[in-house]
């Protein structure tokens, strides 16, 4: 039960000062249902509260009950903590807590560990009745050692049994205690955290978990001979820490929207869970519709009635909403649509990350259905973009789409506590008389904008229709009218684009390679670009938040770089794959629209491995392109 000799050399003896690290990546992997995520989230929260930068990624099996002790069953969490702001999941883990010897393989398949990774593994399997389990445990340990991991066997359940009857249930808090000790976390904060997560449970349960926490802490103190410390940041502002779906939920509240109409779908649902919990006290309601079609129809009805609404979903839900989304564009109904992207096509990889709904969002509706599309890059943006989207939806009388993904949805990150502003909130439903002589579609010929009448406004009466219609909202099959009104709806995008600035360039204004990206990959890409720049490579990056209309000035920016490429998490043919030529290569989604927009030969790197990109992978691609 002691640390291997090699490890000993690396770690300070107890009693000495803990090793100072600038960052560490911790993983907890287990069978599903063993509470690893709760443990990791708490650890992340405590770390954030102590002033560390934090990023978490959940490791989620797609099945409700994957078989125990299998690599596909790996469930858990990664927590990257640092003394600076952490923007992504990083590369290989430094320390792993494994509840059995099989689940690490699910992660090894994804190259999550490397030589030197410390692995704290539950030791009870060595004493299991079943021969085959004992054997497989021994075999795995041997293999882990061969792979160069620093394996430490930990009698987790055995220790827990001293306190509770069902150690499988309490183990996670014991592990939390152990981690707190290893990383010199404030045990008082850990206690408070436990009280917070179990706030709906009985005191007995809370106390038993606190006992486990202390036991894990004590065990580590007594049995592990290394200790770390990660210097906190100097905080001059208040921070909050939450995951992307919670941030979206809070953004909905702060936007003043009062209706969230949804149908459950992974990985979007937890945003509505959050809202269902707290929205009512902020004057809002969550409507769980019978399906996604009804969910968006209900939201559109609400918007029409003056209460601009939000609908939150993922790929298959977007597919079902297609027809209504066309109506929203045609009839100019303000509406916020959040797409928490997952792996596709079809049911695909429901719990995994992908950025492959971009084209479907941009072009999914038949006919010409212009719309505004934004993508969040950080959890902080998950909050703020919802507020912005509601405003744009109302002032541009249009559906606004927000693209987030499974990575942001479940990741946790601290960010500046928002200072709530009065003007974030939608004003009350306008019931003042409608201005005489103003038609319900009184488009401004310059901007395409118009104000909409709300039921209850005297003088504003009109019938909304998805048929072609004129300024009075009346059905019109007149050819010129259809041309004209199509132009006006399109014009709103040009108008909106005038409010946008060209993206800021991360790095030099010109160079050998420009990386263009969008969405949750920001952190990894900027980290990798930073590393590359340090190595002297002439690479810069821009990260787009607006996809429709695209941010201005891209062609000009591209012209200053020898090569331009996007890095995305979606499908593209590899340029050098067998049988793939310039004439038939299928490009990553952003790359494709950038090519059309700028006529620049935008290359791309992308994959559909269902994983967030690691900075290492990005760096490798950068180097490859620059050397080509």
């Amino acid at each position: 039960m002691s640390v291997t000799t090699e490890l000993k050399e690396k770690v300070t003896q107890k009693g000495n000062k803990a090793i100072r690290l600038s960052e560490h990546i911790v993983e907890i992997v287990s069978d599903s249902g063993e509470g690893a995520q709760k443990c990791g989230q708490s650890f992340a929260s405590i770390s954030a509260k102590m002033g560390n930068g934090v990023w978490t990624v959940e490791i989620i099996p797609a099945e409700i009950q994957p078989p125990a002790r299998t690599r596909e069953g790996a469930s858990g969490i990664r927590i990257r903590i640092g003394s600076e702001k952490v923007t992504n999941m990083g590369n290989e883990a430094n320390l792993v807590v494994a509840f059995n010897e099989q689940v690490p393989y699910g992660r090894i398949d994804q190259s999550a560990y490397t030589e030197g990774t410390i692995m704290l593994i539950e030791s009870k399997w060595a004493e299991e009745a079943s021969d085959s389990i004992r054997e497989s445990y021994a075999e795995a340990l041997k293999d882990f050692n061969e792979r160069g991991y620093e394996v430490i066997e930990v009698p987790m359940e055995k220790e827990c049994l001293k306190l509770v009857k069902n150690p499988r249930k309490g183990k996670n808090m014991w592990v939390l205690g152990m981690l707190c000790e290893i990383y010199s976390r404030d045990i008082g904060r850990a206690e408070a955290q436990i009280k917070q997560i179990f706030r709906k449970k009985s005191d007995t349960i809370i106390n038993s978990n606190i006992d486990l926490l202390h036991a894990g802490y004590k065990w580590a103190k007594e049995n592990l001979d290394f200790e770390y410390e990660i210097t906190p940041m100097e905080l001059d502002e208040q921070l909050v820490v939450m995951n992307g779906n919670e941030a979206v939920g809070m953004g909905v509240i702060a936007s003043g929207m009062e209706v969230c109409s949804m149908y459950p779908i992974t990985p979007a649902t937890s945003a509505s869970h959050y809202l269902a919990d707290v929205f009512e006290s902020a004057g809002g309601v969550v409507h769980q519709a019978e399906d996604e079609i009804a969910a968006v129809g209900f939201a559109i009805g609400s918007s029409y009635s003056g209460k601009t609404a939000v609908t939150i979903t993922s790929g298959p839900g977007i597919a079902l909403k297609t027809e209504f989304l066309g109506l929203a564009a045609m009839a100019e109904v303000p509406l916020v649509i959040v797409d928490v992207q997952r792996g596709g096509p079809s049911t695909g990889l429901p719990t995994k990350v992908e950025q492959s709904d971009l084209l479907a969002i941009l072009y999914g509706q038949t006919g010409d259905a212009p719309k505004i599309v934004m993508a969040m890059a950080t959890i902080e943006e998950c909050f703020h973009f919802v507020i912005l989207a509601r405003k744009i939806a109302d002032s541009f009388r249009t559906p606004v789409y927000l693209l987030t993904d499974a990575n942001l949805a479940t990741g946790q990150q601290p960010f500046a506590r928002p200072k709530i502003q009065r003007d974030w909130f939608a004003p009350p439903v306008d019931q003042s008389p409608w201005k005489e002589g103003v038609t319900p579609f009184n488009w401004d010929p310059e901007t395409g904008l118009s104000k909409r009448p709300i039921p209850g406004q005297s003088g504003g009466i009109y019938t909304l229709t998805g048929l072609a219609h004129d300024t009075k909202g009346k059905v019109s099959y007149n050819p010129d009218n259809n041309q004209k009104t199509s132009e006006l709806r399109s014009k709103k995008l040009a108008t909106f684009k005038r409010t946008l600035k060209p993206p800021t360039i991360n790095g030099e204004e010109s160079g050998d390679l420009l990386i263009v990206s969008w969405g949750s990959t920001l952190g990894s890409i900027e980290e990798a670009v930073g590393l590359a720049q340090k190595e002297g490579l002439k690479v810069s990056s821009i990260h787009l938040r607006f996809l429709s209309p695209l941010e201005p000035g891209l062609k000009e920016i591209f012209s200053r770089f020898k090569k331009v490429m996007t890095i995305e998490i979606n499908y593209s043919d590899k340029a050098d794959a067998d049988g793939i030529t310039e004439d038939n290569r299928r490009y990553a989604q952003l790359a494709w629209i950038l090519r059309a927009r700028t006529l620049v030969d935008v290359d791309c790197y992308s994959n559909v491995m269902g994983q967030p990109l690691s900075p290492k992978k990005v760096l490798r691609e950068i180097k490859q392109r620059i050397n080509k």
Binding site: M250, A282, G283, V285, S303, A309, I420, L464
Partner: protein
Amino acid sequence: MFGLKPDAALELPENYYVLDDYEKGIARWCDGCGDHAVLASVQKLCREEQLDPVKTVFVSGIGCSSRFPHYMNTYGFHGLHGRAFPVACGIKHRRPDLDVFVITGDGDCCSIGAGAWIHAIRYNVNLTVMLFNNEIYGLTKKQQSPTSRIGTVSNTTPRGSILPPLDPMQVTLGVANASFVAQTADWNPAHMHATIKAAHAHKGFSFVHILQRCPIFQPELVNELTSNRDNICYLKDDNGITVSEDIEKTFKHSAPHDPSDINGARQLAASEEKIYLGLFYQGKNKENYDDYGAHNLGVTVEEKTAMLNAEFDKYGI
């Protein structure tokens, strides 16, 4: 709309709405189409109930009947085929001050809209719903509908349809929280009007199944329905749809039925002998989803800000 209002000669309060106030344009339905009769009845209802046009919303799907909102001088929402219900629920949900009507056809409601229909019944939002059942697809020019009788010759069933028709009354009565379920016929304006009026007075999802004439694509059916008085039976009950004695006499058959008796209602709906006109079922004090929707209206920006700040405290570092 300009000049003297037609019934301005009568001594009426200043803000009294007249029929004219509810009329818009010329209804573009065929001559003899039952939709005209429903429109007239609804406009009359609006006047009788003195509904404020700006507080009234007609929501529809797509179909001949779904053109209805365009002919009402009220707010309107002429949306997508089969999707009037969720839109109407979304409108009413947080706007208890609006009076919301739903207009739907047999294809719109019972075919493509079936899922939304079932669930709208259960939500029991305070809507006045009129299903125009002409047993055919009108707008797309004669295809079978799920309510078409066996043997209906249509463009998609040139040798006659083969499945028994869905009965909208039976289906509605099978759904939890059904609260007002009535049947009437467009060619009996008095009965239809009384039915729509009772539906409008009911709090909850008031479902009016209207047998509707489509002389263009269902001429024989129209002929049979309107000429064969043997089939039709008037449901008589003080708590049901009541018409004047004169009108009552025009029915060849009548039968008693207590609208609080849902089992009886289901039997009436299942009957293959007669078409019963009247109130099949009315349940009081059922759960209304819009009551939930509107339960927390009016939270102020200050309260929201305080609530959010409390949330940030929870998530604070």
